[in-house]
């Protein structure tokens, strides 16, 4: 019975979404409070109902109810409990339900925390959210229903894809979706503003925390996915420019641009039209990503099922929402008034440069991702656009942005002093170069160009520190004064600095790994030694082991440096019994920020085994930087200023404030 209640709750939520998508929007036109009041209420109910059905599905997984087809297909009674839970979204149907749950979760958050929003805007925003919910509810119910039953029920499930049985993968999709779907809020705000026909600086302030939250989660989700691919797939790579990775990376790039342009809009009321367009584009890229990943146009580990019906359905959703939003934009945008003016050299100018580069970079990634698909559809020719293309285009395009980052925060609004900023950054540039040289010298080896790359990473890091340094006026004012000023800085200033600092760390990590990485492929017999990164890796032999739902051949390695044993590590080849599927479990040892990565290959005749050893210097910087960016996002989110702005219902107070302002 419980299963059927979950199913019904999902069906009922479609009805609720229909109501929330219609009544409050009409209410907003008529300025009818009762009808508009339905929006927050209905959104909460919607969240409750989808929550019930998600909880029911999770329960079905937890108790291994194989009468539910979805559970039978993707679970196994002997699987560890944590993977039974994560198995809920380790498949197409469940992951779409999670997508929906997060969508209505955001609607509920707007309903709860959006008290400061004008009623009409809120009703429209929640209405648009409900439209998206309707589309995805229909998609789930009609093409990907996780509540279909089997009668009689099988006795044992078919197991979750082994490479998804991993802790990283248990949290990667929810984080990624919190980001992906979080941008739906920016989208809904943009569409609501277009419907309402008014948009101003206050709008930017209201939408910014949502963008920021989505961006922060997406950062975490992408970093997590990258780390998972690194240690689970056993190829030692951390970014493959795989279309699926690009699908999550493009909204991130566009979202980063949106974050910066909404700043301009909030402060100066400039870039209004552009910001609205960017908000629509960001979520469109999220939808496109969902389409690419879920439709089976691309084959990858993420394409759980390839069902053309689903692909066409998502394509329709894509067409309706993106097409509709752009049509609305084309119709309404000319009515928006242009905002404040600024000189090319100014904070706004820097942010425009940021936007320009980020959008062009997004377009490049989009081209590289879609070109093979388009070409195949048009001419039938099959090509692959791989890492070299993206490294060349994206890498080169990002260069000017990375150089410009430290300048931005040092320029004043409206009209900046470029020479002043340059003077302040001379020292930073010098330091970065010295640090790059020192780093290069310490690692001895690699192309000389690497110095420039390393210096670029340090430039970003030091630049972020310099921003705080100059804001607090260290060096000019007395230390105690500067210190108290530093403490008085708004949290968003720290958030910015942290995010830029993190970017520098990631750049440093990327350059260091690409330049100084070593890879050794050797055939080892018991007792033989391989060398990597100044460490000796001694192969101690193989052993068989049995896990809960797999058997494995484990190789043991002792790692020593200068004759002293410093660590030991297991690396294994697993066979998951239910699906008869082998996986490679790499052995990874961390030394500071660097890692030694040991992966097993095929056994050779004569008892040896092929072993691949990578030395990955400073690889943790890549994800460490993302982590710092994420912390920056949270610090900014905690800024008091993003929470205030609740209407006190006394308009008269405005006059007093105005007088104070004049």
């Amino acid at each position: 019975m419980i299963i059927e209640i979950g199913h019904y709750a999902l069906v009922l939520s479609l009805a609720v979404a229909l109501i929330v998508g219609v009544v409050p929007v009409i209410g907003a036109r008529r300025r009818d409070t009762a009808m508009m009041a339905l929006a927050p209420l209905g959104s909460l109910v919607l969240f409750g109902l989808v929550g019930i059905s998600f909880a029911v599905l999770t329960w079905a997984y937890a108790v291994s109810d194989f009468s539910v087809k979805n559970v039978w297909e993707n679970s196994h009674s002997l699987m560890p409990l944590i993977y039974k839970y994560s198995g809920v979204w380790g498949n197409h149907e469940g992951s779409m339900l999670l997508w929906l749950l997060i969508l209505v979760f955001f609607s509920a958050l707007i309903a709860v925390f959006g008290r400061n929003l004008p009623d009409t805007l809120k009703a429209n925003v929640l209405g648009v959210q409900a439209w998206i919910s309707i589309a995805f509810l229909l998609f789930i119910l009609l093409t990907s229903n996780p509540f279909l039953r089997l009668d009689p029920a099988p006795a044992e499930g078919q197991d979750l894809n082994p490479i998804l049985q991993d802790l990283g993968l248990a949290i990667h999709p929810p984080l990624l979706y919190l980001g992906y779907v979080g941008f739906s809020v920016s989208f809904s705000f943009a569409v609501a503003a277009l419907i309402g026909g008014r948009i101003d600086a206050a709008w930017a302030r209201w939408v910014r925390p949502w963008t920021l939250a989505a961006w922060t989660f997406l950062t975490a989700g992408i970093a997590m996915g990258s780390y998972w691919a690194y240690y689970e797939l056993g190829w030692g790579g951390w970014w493959f420019w795989d279309p699926v990775e690009n699908a999550s990376f493009m909204p991130w790039l566009a979202g980063t641009a949106l974050l910066h342009s909404s700043l301009v809009m909030e402060k100066r009321e400039a870039l209004k039209i552009w910001t609205v367009l960017l908000a629509i584009m960001t979520f469109s890229l999220s939808l496109l990503g969902t389409f690419l990943v879920r439709s089976g146009v691309l084959t990858s580990v993420h394409a759980f099922a390839t069902d053309p019906g689903r692909g066409i359905f998502i394509l329709c959703i894509l067409a309706v929402f993106i097409g509709g939003a752009f049509a609305l934009f084309a119709w309404r945008a000319p009515m928006l008034k242009a905002g404040g003016l600024f000189a090319p050299i100014s904070r706004e100018g820097a942010l425009v440069l940021n936007n320009l580069i980020l959008t062009v970079a997004t377009a490049t990634v989009l081209t590289g991702t879609l070109y093979p698909l388009v070409l195949e559809t048009l001419t039938g020719e099959k090509i692959s656009v791989g890492a070299p293309f993206f490294n060349m285009t994206f890498g080169l395009l990002m260069l000017p942005l990375l150089i410009a980052v430290p300048f931005g925060p040092l320029l004043a609004w409206k009209r900046g002093d470029f020479l002043g900023a340059l003077q302040r950054l001379y020292l930073v540039a010098g330091l970065a170069l010295v640090a790059g040289l020192a780093f290069y010298y310490a690692e001895n080896g690699g192309p000389v160009m690497a110095v420039a790359g390393l210096a670029l990473g340090f430039w970003g890091m030091f630049g972020a520190l310099a921003d705080l340094w100059y804001r607090a006026n260290f060096g000019k004012a007395k230390f105690s004064v500067a210190w108290s000023r530093l403490k008085g800085l708004p949290r968003s200033a720290f958030g910015t600095a942290l995010a830029h600092f993190g970017l520098g760390i990631t750049v440093l990590g990327v350059v260091a790994v690409t330049t100084f990485e070593t890879e050794t492929v050797v055939e080892l017999k018991q007792g033989m030694t391989a060398e990597a990164g100044g460490y000796s890796i001694i192969f101690d032999g193989m052993r068989e082991a049995v896990g809960p739902n797999f058997t494995e051949e484990r190789g043991h390695f002792t790692i020593s440096r200068g004759g002293v044993t410093v660590a030991d590590v297991w690396s294994s080849k697993r066979l998951y019994t239910a699906r008869r599927m082998p996986t490679t479990e790499a052995g990874i040892v961390t030394f500071g920020l660097s890692q030694l990565y040991v992966s097993l290959g095929d056994p050779m005749e004569g008892g040896g085994i092929v072993v691949r050893v990578w030395w990955k210097p400073f690889i943790l910087c890549i994800w460490g930087g993302a982590l710092v960016m994420m912390i920056g996002g949270f610090v900014s989110l905690s800024d008091r200023r993003l929470r205030v702005g609740a209407p006190t219902r006394r308009v008269k107070a405005v006059k007093a404030a105005l007088e104070a302002a004049e």
């Binding site: 019975m1 059927e4 229909l18 109910v45 009623d119 600086a201 000023r485 105005l658 302002a661």
Partner: protein, 374 residues
């Protein structure tokens, strides 16, 4: 019934919540721009603070203040001219909300749901498995996962695995049973058969060793003798194979189920086959056979046909039965219905693509089977 009551309560509850705003008396319209005004006032405060801290100079602050002030004024003006809503009636909306919920809910749910199926958590099903073989197997598996040294359990499970073509599991189970309970002719022969099936009907070295071991323990184990003979045949030693098959035929009761296969092999290796005593394979029972013999020729054929038909129907329902396919194919062959025999064989092969027995049968019957390389 309980389900429907719960669903009705859920629907009613949701409807009640959703029509709540229409039941309340009309609220005063809050100033539409109050939120905006609050934001701008906040920006002003922030500006003061920044100026106080010396983060921006006085001139910049003045510019910014003027800008924010303009926005503030515009927002306040807009509010002053904002129209207020007229109190309206919500009859239509209420009906729309209260009807849409159950209508959409019921229509879609009746289309998609399975209201009669109870939830079936595995634990509860395992506690009360009934006659469900799959569940009994699952239960035994769980028991063995916890007590891997229970030889009797492995012994019980091994032939079940073999029959349901889970050959990898069957091999493991036989080996465990042999390891824990010691070798017995049945286990060794079973292991051998499993290995043969796993290598598509070829008697491998491993399998042969296993059969020989079984024969050492009990020289008249018929299936072990059969496969040893088959091994000889497969290695091209036709004479020795024929001798072995003939010896097996001699020692077996005339109505033994394997006799037909043995006779075929004798024939293939150049021997002469004594006329089969019974034309129908293991399907019909002794009594039925006796009854059949007393019937007229045509009645007898009808009866056999009836039995074969019922077997065919059974296979249609539960195709996961290798023995059944073998029997069905042979039965059709005996009845002289070559077309149906081929069809049965192909269905069987579809179900068990790797089955050596089916392939062997196909070759005997001279049926070309696609996708099988042997």
């Amino acid at each position: 019934m309980v389900l429907w009551i719960v669903l009705a309560i859920l629907t009613a509850g949701v409807a009640a919540i959703l029509i709540l705003p229409f039941a309340r008396s009309a609220r005063a319209v809050p100033a539409e721009h109050a939120g905006e005004i609050a934001v701008y006032r906040d920006q002003l405060k922030e500006l003061e603070r920044d100026q106080g801290l010396g983060l921006i100079d006085a001139q910049q602050a003045d510019y910014a203040r003027a800008e924010i002030g303009r926005r503030l004024l515009a927002a306040a003006d807009a509010d002053a001219e904002g129209e207020t809503s007229k109190p309206s009636r919500y009859g239509f909306t209420t009906v729309f909300v209260t009807l849409l919920l159950p209508a959409t809910g019921l229509c879609l749910y009746l289309m998609l749901g399975s209201p009669n199926l109870p939830a079936q958590p595995l634990e509860a099903r395992l506690a009360n498995p009934g006659n469900n073989i799959a569940l009994l197997v699952a239960k035994a598996e769980r028991h063995l996962a916890q007590n891997p040294s229970d030889g009797a359990g492995w012994d019980l499970l091994a032939p079940i695995y073999y029959r349901s073509m889970r050959l990898g599991d069957a091999e493991l189970a036989y080996r465990n049973a042999i390891r824990l309970m010691g070798a017995s002719p049945a286990r060794l022969a079973g292991l051998g058969e499993t290995l043969v099936a796993a290598s598509d009907g070829v008697v491998t070295e491993d399998a042969r060793v296993s059969f020989e071991e079984a024969l050492r323990l009990q020289p008249d184990t018929p299936n072990a003798r059969f496969y040893i003979a088959l091994a000889l045949e497969q290695s091209g030693k036709r004479d020795e194979a024929r001798t072995a098959f003939e010896a097996l035929a001699k020692d077996s009761p005339a109505d033994a189920p394997w006799m037909e296969l043995v006779s075929e092999h004798i024939a293939r290796n150049g021997g002469t086959v004594p006329p089969p005593t019974s034309s129908a394979p293991a399907g019909p029972t002794q009594e039925e056979m006796r009854a059949a013999q007393q019937m007229s020729e045509s009645d007898r054929r009808d009866m056999i046909r009836g039995m074969v038909e019922s077997l065919a129907a059974k296979m249609q329902e539960d195709p996961n039965n290798l023995e059944g396919w073998l029997q069905l194919t042979r039965s059709y062959a005996v009845l002289g219905d070559r077309e149906k025999a081929e069809a049965a064989l192909k269905s069987g092969l579809k179900q068990f693509p790797g089955s050596g027995e089916l392939v062997a049968l196909a070759q005997q019957m001279g049926i070309a089977v696609e996708g099988v390389s042997q």
